[in-house]
Amino acid sequence: MTEGHSTLSAMVFVDLSLLTMLFLVAIAMLRSRHLFAVVMLSGIYSLLSAAFFVSLDAVDVAFTEAAVGAGISTVLMLAGMLLTSRREKPVMPGRAPIAMAVVFITGAALIYATIDMPAFGDANAPANAYVGKQYVERTPNEIAVPNIVTAVLASYRGFDTLGEVLVVFTAGLAVILLLGFGSARGGREVSDQEDE
């Protein structure tokens, strides 16, 4: 009993410290005008989110977040940053009342919505009842793979995943078309006119 209690408080401590760090990193990103620092902080933010997903037992999501969010996105943001200036233009604070109003109203609506959310791990929550429950019950008999996430992704929702692969493929195609495949320069060392 005491052991279970101490594990629980340890989990709460881990969750709280992860969320606090997420919050601090987000504030630091907002305040920094140095784009390199912002890109690095966004990588840290993704890594912290991945750690938080692990504590929520969503290891597949955590894995994707760590690989895509913290890995590839950071690299692509760095590559994109090299094509622009290194510093964000300074913004005068307090000059955007409409934006402030929109942010506050949306934030208040979101916080209000969380009051209606089911508790974490609630067996009667919509995510755990209906179709989710069916997947958990049927996968051992119908697909017989230990990882239910893979069973849903590649078998039950195989057609969806085909669409996702098509989206990734289209993204690559769009980048090739926009950034010049087949040009005489072969997409290398384009010397655009530099605006000062």
Binding site: V59, D60, A62, F63, T64, A67, V68, G71, I72, V75, L76, A79, G80, L82, L83, E142, I143, A144, V145, P146, N147, V149, T150, A151, L153, A154, S155, G158, F159, T161, L162, E164, V165, L166, V168, F169, A171, G172, L173, V175, I176, L179, G180, F181, G186, G187, R188, E189, V190
Partner: protein, 147 residues
């Protein structure tokens, strides 16, 4: 005199284990976390690390852009082709059970998942590298001073 010797040697040592880990994630998606999407990204990261340390031109020699475009198409067609194959065998699109209908433990599902995950992995890895090549290839290598 070799510049950034530690970085280059570390990259050389790490390159093969990263590829190996990508293949592990690719083929153990049924049993643990991971699958084609994550494996593809990890595979691409190995080459991105290579490009960071040895320059983009060196990486393009190891993994040419044209091969990547072919791989992008092959990956997607491999996935869609698995679906068409199951249709030709008389089942629904992506109905894997028809691959091994006599199996008592749904071996057809295992094969089918393995095949489509392979398609996912190939497409994701080649697309990520293509995007990286095109973003990074737009400017000459930056000076040490610019960092």
């Amino acid at each position: 005199m070799m510049e950034h010797a530690i970085l280059k040697i570390t990259t050389k040592i790490l390159f093969a284990p990263i590829i190996l880990f990508a293949l592990y994630v690719q083929f153990h998606g049924d049993y643990g976390p991971g699958g084609g999407f994550q494996a593809g990204v990890i595979f691409a990261v190995a080459f991105i690390l290579h490009a960071f340390c040895f320059g983009l031109e060196e990486t393009k020699k190891a993994m040419p852009q044209k091969a990547l475009i072919i791989a992008m198409v092959i990956g997607f067609l491999f996935y869609a082709g698995t679906g068409v194959a199951t249709m030709l065998l008389g089942a629904n699109f992506l109905g894997y059970d028809v691959i091994d209908p006599d199996s008592t433990h749904h071996a057809g599902q295992h094969y089918g998942i393995l095949l489509v995950e392979w398609g996912v992995g190939v497409t994701v890895a080649s697309t990520m590298l293509t995007i990286f090549y095109h973003f990074t290839g737009r400017e000459p290598d930056i000076d040490q001073e610019d960092w």
